[in-house]
């Protein structure tokens, strides 16, 4: 009842804002921001994404006019959908923005687990960084590359065990897609986190696992783990020699994390925010801090960000339909 009222109120406000915005389309950003801007972080304090946002936000503040300040609000849980729902329910006045990965925008809505219906319900301000996830083999694996792994899997359906860190998520969907397009049947083993997958791989419980690039650098250098293929589109420079699914002729997935705002946020405020994020990501000090943490900065303007999101949404929806999860 209350959410209904709240939503009606938001919709009417949004409509009003749009009507107003059409006449004097400029002007909303004048004097912006007048008060602190809430930046919703879909991660607990001290978590990976939380520390990234905490590293970035002072530089965005610096590049905004009128002594802008951010208030970070941590809303972890439910594959980021709690935080993204909070952005969805916020006033589209430019005083609430949120950080979001692709899962809550292009996967969770299709699974019917969100109050919003998809990425279309938001203004996509700009993308901030990309991540790469690799199919990783342990030391002494009989396979040298993806082709050998898949060939073996074809002869032994359901026998090759591949660890992923959850179901129907950014690791699981690309793996399922690979199985569909290569016509193989792998035994997907679900772990709770990439740390658990790593332990299982080192302990010889599984034949392969999917893991984010930045947590296997030390093992790669020591030779205890061997990444063979990037399942995402963007490659980090430290693994530049390793092919991606795209290089091998398969459909890659994408994992990118950007800033979103409630639908109907005035367009000039969006532009101000995007400009500040772009300028921040060009600051040498921030570039150095993020490089140290192996974060791949990848600024996309609103249009490119939206385009990538659309493309990925079609791919992810297609996989879920092919699997029969989605009708």
């Amino acid at each position: 009842m209350f959410t209904f009222l709240k939503k009606t109120a938001t919709t009417s406000l949004a409509v009003a804002a749009m009507v107003l915005a059409t006449a004097p389309s400029m002007g909303a950003a004048e004097g912006y921001p007048e008060k602190p801007i809430t930046w919703i972080v879909p991660d607990g304090a001290g978590g990976g994404l939380d520390t990234i946002v905490r590293t970035i936000y002072p530089y965005v503040e610096k590049n905004l006019p009128n002594d802008a300040t951010f208030v970070l609000k941590n809303l972890p849980g439910a594959t980021q959908t709690i935080a993204v729902s909070a952005v969805y329910n916020a006033e589209p006045d430019g005083y609430t923005i949120g950080q979001a990965s692709v899962a809550p925008l292009t996967i969770m809505p299709h699974l019917g687990k969100t109050s919003y219906s998809g990425y279309e319900d938001f203004e996509l301000i700009s993308n901030v960084f990309d991540a790469a996830h690799y199919i990783v083999l342990p030391e002494g694996s009989p396979f040298a590359n993806l082709e050998e792994l898949l060939a073996h899997a074809k002869e032994n359906p359901g026998k090759v065990r591949v660890g992923v860190d959850g179901v129907f998520n950014v690791q699981h969907l690309p793996l399922l897609n690979l199985e569909l397009s290569a016509e193989v049947d792998l035994n997907e083993i679900t772990y709770k986190s990439s740390a658990e997958t790593k332990k299982a791989l080192l302990g010889g419980e599984i034949e392969a696992g999917i893991m984010p690039s930045h947590i296997i650098i030390s093992e790669y250098e020591a030779g205890t783990l061997k990444p063979i293929v990037d399942v995402m589109e963007v490659k980090p420079d430290y693994f530049a020699d390793i092919p991606s699914l795209k290089d091998l002729g398969y459909t890659p997935s994408q994992l990118f994390v950007g800033v979103i705002a409630p639908k109907g946020t005035p367009s000039d405020i969006q532009a101000t925010l995007a400009g500040a994020i772009k300028a921040a990501l060009e600051e040498p000090e921030l570039i150095e801090a993020l490089a140290k943490r192996k974060i791949m900065i990848n600024y996309n303007d609103s249009e490119t960000y939206l385009g990538r999101m659309k493309e990925l949404d079609v791919v992810n929806k297609g996989i879920l339909v092919d699997l029969g999860v989605l009708k």
């Binding site: 304090a45 010889g204 030390s218």
Partner: protein, 495 residues
């Protein structure tokens, strides 16, 4: 292996010492406040470390982590409310001793055994971390499942005579542990479409509700115009040589069990304290004293949770696998400084790693000293009239629950859980059985199902390594032993 630190002066500089002390105080205070706990303390100090040299920053977080383990026991002993999940077993004997005998003494037993456990964990780290980390990898999903089952069997050793009530408690805990999105299929279980329940019942809300809020209701129903302890005499914290000798064996057992379970990522302190308590109570000469305020019952879980802190650093440093939420945050500090924990860290960052090893022992020393200093002040809490205490603790609980996930939903959840457990406590159900089952439910369930997925449904997976066979034999022996004892007891009573 070169055991000597290249330059000990690197460790004993003012910045490092001050950072360790700051971390210790913050960890102890946050650990002692119900609901706040170690994870929040470490997360709070994380941004401070970015501006510090790597060693100082990391030692500060480790000091916080270590002191938080002891801090959690302070409120467990004084109020019967564990500040951290790892201190839940300490309530059983710590609280009765504080109320009936002396809060000062109970805290001293806890501090001494915690410190010994901490040093033990540090020594394990220094001498055998690399071989131990490799050994821990032998424990896969089938072994984790069997360990979980052994942990659950500890319930039988703990709870009183009423088997029906303790079975109901275990069932309640197991049910609570299954709430949330099923990890293996993605299906929502008992979430009632609440996104806040998708990751399961928030551990902080559960813990605070069942221990703190229900305890507050009990205090109110007993009358507010009293205080736990009237006279100042019982606040004395000194221990006699005989008393110290009495906890030598449980402390050693607890340290061994703590370090052993600590090296297994994902099991950690929350379960190790129960293992230690069960083993010590079973092997003690006076098993009837447990649960009524026995020093051995404090020493066992206390030494084990601090030893597991050192143990948890083993897979983290050697393999880059963080075993708990607090360690995952500490890993953030490493990454911020561009250091990748893993096989190469021992050679690439040699000075830093050995600095951490020896610094970890220092954090234990700091914990002991700060603890000695603060213990008398802490134990005065029980002199405060309940009318004040209830209000203060309640506000702290609310802050702690909200701080963990900023969800109002969790506050209502904790209140509901508090009411349920108030009733259960009045009906003499075992709260500790519920919490053990809750902690172990996901370990048992996920690893059981994962093992069968790994083997394509073949139950032989549970007998496929010498470790799993050894664990199965332990379960059979424990079951056989208790059935045998039961039959013998029945014969003597009837005949």
């Amino acid at each position: 292996m070169d055991l000597f630190f290249n330059d000990l002066a690197n460790l004993f500089n003012l910045t490092n010492i001050l950072c360790i002390l700051l971390g210790t105080v913050v960890g102890m205070v946050f650990g002692a406040l119900p609901g706040l706990g170690t994870v929040i303390a470490v997360a709070l100090l994380l941004p401070v470390t970015f501006t510090l040299p790597p060693l100082a920053g990391i030692l500060m977080l480790l000091a916080t982590y270590q002191a938080g383990e002891y801090g959690g026991s302070i409120s467990a002993i004084l109020l019967g409310v564990p500040g951290t999940p790892q201190a839940a077993a300490t309530v059983i004997d710590g609280h009765p001793m504080a109320v009936n005998e002396s809060p000062g003494k109970a805290l001293s037993f806890s501090l001494l055994s915690s410190s010994i456990g901490g040093i033990f964990g540090g020594l394990v780290l220094i001498f055998i971390s690399i071989p131990l980390a490799k050994f821990a990898l032998n424990f896969g999903s089938p072994e984790y499942f069997l360990l979980g089952v052994i942990g659950l069997m500890a319930v039988g050793l703990l709870s009183g005579t009423d088997k029906v009530k303790s079975s109901i408690s275990v069932l309640l805990g197991l049910m609570a542990g299954t709430v949330g999105v099923d990890t293996l299929t993605g299906v929502n279980r008992a979430t009632f479409n609440q996104p806040e329940l998708m990751d399961g019942i928030n551990l902080v809300a559960f813990l605070v509700g069942m221990f703190a809020i229900s305890e507050l209701f009990l205090m109110i129903s007993k009358g507010l115009n009293t205080s736990y302890s009237g006279d100042g005499r019982s606040l004395k914290t000194g221990l006699s040589a005989k008393e110290v000798k009495g906890i030598a064996k449980p402390t050693l057992i607890g340290s061994l069990i703590g370090a052993g379970t600590g090296i297994l990522p994902g099991i950690g302190g929350g379960a190790s304290c129960w293992f230690a308590y069960a083993v010590v109570s079973k092997t003690s000469k006076t098993p009837e004293a447990f649960g009524k305020g026995c020093a051995e019952g404090i020493a066992a879980p206390e030494s084990s949770n601090n030893a597991s802190a050192g143990g948890a650093l083993v897979p983290f440093l050697a393999l880059g696998i963080p075993g708990s939420a607090a360690i995952a945050i500490i890993m953030g500090a490493f990454i911020m400084h561009g250091i990748q924990p893993g096989p190469n860290v021992f050679t690439a960052e040699r000075d830093l790693v050995y600095g951490i090893f020896y610094g970890f022992i220092l954090t234990t020393v700091a914990m002991y000293l700060v603890g000695r200093l603060l213990t008398p002040a802490f134990s005065r809490v029980l002199v405060v009239p309940n009318s004040f205490l209830v209000a203060i603790v309640f506000v702290l609980c609310l802050i702690g629950i909200y701080a963990s996930k900023s969800a109002f939903f969790d506050l209502w959840l904790a209140l509901g859980i508090g009411v349920v457990f108030y009733i259960l406590k009045r009906l003499n159900y075992s709260v500790s059985s519920v919490i053990i089952a809750y902690v172990l439910a996901p370990i048992i369930e996920e690893n059981f199902r994962r093992s069968l997925t790994l083997s394509n449904g073949d139950y032989g997976v549970f007998f496929s390594s010498i470790y799993s066979i050894a664990l199965v034999l332990m379960i059979v022996a424990a079951l056989g032993g208790s059935i045998f004892a039961d039959i013998k007891k029945r014969r003597t009573t009837t005949g």
